[in-house]
């Protein structure tokens, strides 16, 4: 008892210093995390859970949801030809982005390299469309795509070539996706180029010099040194590109409304059409859940198979 109380005195003084400290630390942790957690739970998690519930009802938004239909909405989505078209168009944008847009961005980044005079100028110009809103971008390109060669710049240039006729562009079911992809590329290739330029900047110059001294030519240098060392940047860029392609909305909605005859429908416009135009809120909720599952499946499998992208911005 005696010894205990003696040592307790020692403990006490140190505890007095430490105790408020622990309380303070815990308070800091709780108070600092609270705003983020509350906002996230209320505006991200809760809406999704609520839609999971609504997705089981046939509900047009008036009054409470009472017409329980189980998984019927999902069955209907997955057998709807137009939804499949929307998924197909999403995949088309993914494939075109990965085979055309990203290689183009990479090629331009390699061309600018680390020390081309005017490097900063090109970066500033190429990245500029990224800061334009999709609304502005869409309207600018609507002017250019006007099928009447008297009014649309692209056709006006095209008919200067002998034997070439003006094209319907956005009015043609076969051309519309290509046209939209051009606009997406115009707006976003600068972003990917920027990422690649930053990645290139990070490759130690000595490695490239050593390879060059060993007799590597430019092609070999890019193939065996630059691209492998750029690996993580490329993986990040692919991840962002796919996730972005799956959620395209404003550009398509303003330029084509998903038409002509659903030819340019994407998942987000499909959801908007059923949820906000027809106001089938139960069905729209089910569409949202399907889209979330697709996005989740992609993210999880990409992280498992490729690796966790350590760069993710809130886009």
């Amino acid at each position: 008892m005696e010894t205990a109380s003696a040592s307790e005195g020692v403990l006490d003084s140190s505890r007095q210093a430490r105790f408020p400290r622990r309380v303070q630390d815990n308070l800091t942790i709780v108070l600092f995390l609270l705003p983020a957690l509350v906002l996230f739970l209320v505006f991200v998690v809760y809406p999704i859970l609520q839609s999971l519930y609504y997705s089981l009802f046939n509900w047009k938004g008036f009054g409470p949801a009472v017409d329980f239909v189980g998984l019927d909405n999902f069955k209907r989505i997955l057998t709807d030809r137009i939804f499949m078209k929307a998924v197909g168009n999403g995949l088309l944008i993914v494939v075109l982005s990965l085979t055309i847009q990203l290689p183009l961005s990479l090629a331009l980044a390699l061309m600018v390299g680390r020390d081309l005079p005017g490097r900063a100028f090109f970066r500033t110009i190429f990245f500029m469309p990224y800061v334009f809103s999709e609304v502005i971008t869409a309207i600018m390109w609507l002017f250019l795509y006007n099928p009447d060669p008297e009014r649309g710049f692209i056709n006006a240039v095209l008919i200067l070539i002998p034997g070439v006729k003006p094209q319907p562009w956005l009015g043609s079911p076969t051309q519309v996706m290509g046209c939209l992809f051009v606009v997406l590329t115009w707006k976003y290739f600068g972003l990917h180029m920027l990422l690649y330029m930053a990645g290139l900047q990070n490759i130690p110059q000595e490695i490239e010099e050593a390879a060059r001294i060993d007799g590597a030519n430019r092609r070999q240098l890019i193939k065996y040194i630059t691209l492998p060392l750029l690996g993580s940047t490329i993986r990040t860029s692919v991840y962002l590109s796919v996730l972005g392609s799956l959620q395209v909305f404003a550009l398509v909605w303003i330029m084509t409304l998903g038409g002509p005859v659903n030819a340019s429908e994407v998942m987000a416009t499909y959801m908007y059409r059923f949820g906000f135009v027809r106001f089938w809120l139960g069905y729209g909720s089910a569409v949202a859940i399907v889209m979330l599952l697709i996005s989740l499946a992609f993210s999880v499998s990409y992280q498992r198979l490729v690796r966790q992208p350590d760069y993710l911005s809130g886009m």
Binding site: Q24, T28, I29, L31, F32, L33, P35, A36, L37, F40, V42, F43, P47, Q50, S51, L108, G118, I125, F126, P129, Y130, V131, F132, S133, E134, V135, I136, I139, W141, F143, E150, R151, F153, A156, W186, L194, A198, N202, N217, G231, T236, L246, Q247, F249, A250, I254, A268, M271, G275, F276, S285, M291, L292, S299, D310, Y311, L312, S313, G314, M315
Partner: protein, 285 residues
């Protein structure tokens, strides 16, 4: 880069590839500018001129479209609403994300892993996909037709990415600094407020710049949450203006040009911050 690979060759062989490099790059510069220049040309014409020769030089320039747009109260209301939403969203994101990122980067506690995972889950649920659920929830909370609703949703969907960026920056600040501060009697809050935040200023401005661009350009959230035209934001107003005045394309062009001006000015001032925000993690890999 060409210099590295060809420095032993003759000047002719050295300069030729460089010539092609500039040729290709210039071609892309032209492609970037064509839609922008065509828009500006169109905006400087009368309605009739736009229909008969939309892509020639606007000589003489007609400024009427601009004065017409600028004299409409609507344009200024849109501008004000967009500014309010952008400023509040951005302050909210920077404030809330730096608090959370600090705790997740610098403090140890039970449940840290699950909380971090929960908060980064948002990366897989972009707003374009979650918009209908969000609309239903906000309608229930009575937050539609209210700029606060737009702001809260924008903040919530910006959290995950920005917490991740800031956490990365905070973790890169040496532990010794924290130890020294604690030995000197700092509390966790003191360390955060007096040492970490001032050091992280570049990271905070990068996050702020990215959030400003995202908020300023957002169409979908105001589109589904706001009906009342006095609460429209610039992108929403631009879209509505385009469908309403579809006949007078020159006027639409002027409106669109004017709504792009703030974005361009902002970009020229904040390019460095935007770029460093976007490349923050790519550099770490």
């Amino acid at each position: 880069m060409a210099t590295i690979y060809s420095h032993r060759r003759s000047t002719w062989r050295k300069n030729l590839p460089r010539f092609f490099q500039y040729l290709i790059l210039s071609l892309f510069v032209v492609i970037i500018f064509v839609p922008i220049v065509m828009l500006i040309f169109g905006s400087l014409k009368t309605r009739g001129e736009f229909l008969t020769r939309p892509y020639t030089l606007p000589i003489p320039p007609r400024w009427e479209n601009y004065t017409k747009v600028l004299s409409q109260a609507m344009f200024w209301i849109l501008l004000r609403n967009s500014l309010v939403v952008m400023l509040v969203t951005t302050s909210g994101v920077v404030f809330i994300c730096s608090l959370a990122a600090f705790v997740l980067a610098r403090m140890e506690f039970r449940g840290k892993g699950p909380i971090f995972n929960l908060l980064t889950l948002g990366l897989m649920f972009p707003i374009n996909i979650a918009i209908l659920p969000v609309y239903l929830a906000l309608r229930r909370m009575g937050l539609t037709n209210n700029l606060l609703g737009v702001i809260l949703v924008q903040i919530a969907f910006q959290l995950s990415g920005n917490i991740l960026i800031l956490r990365g920056f905070f973790m890169a600040i040496p532990v010794e600094l924290q130890d020294a501060a604690y030995i000197d009697g700092c509390t966790a809050f003191d360390f955060f407020w007096r040492i970490l935040l001032p050091l992280a200023r570049p990271a905070l401005s990068a996050v702020a710049a990215l959030t400003m661009v995202a908020s300023w350009n957002d169409l979908l959230v105001p589109l589904v949450l706001i009906d009342k035209d006095t609460l429209w934001t610039l992108p929403l107003g631009t879209q509505q203006f385009q469908s309403q005045y579809g006949q007078d394309l020159a006027l639409v062009a002027a409106f669109v040009t004017l709504s792009a001006v703030p974005a361009i000015i902002f970009y020229l001032f904040a390019e460095r911050q935007i770029v460093s925000g976007l490349t923050a993690g790519a550099l770490k890999g």
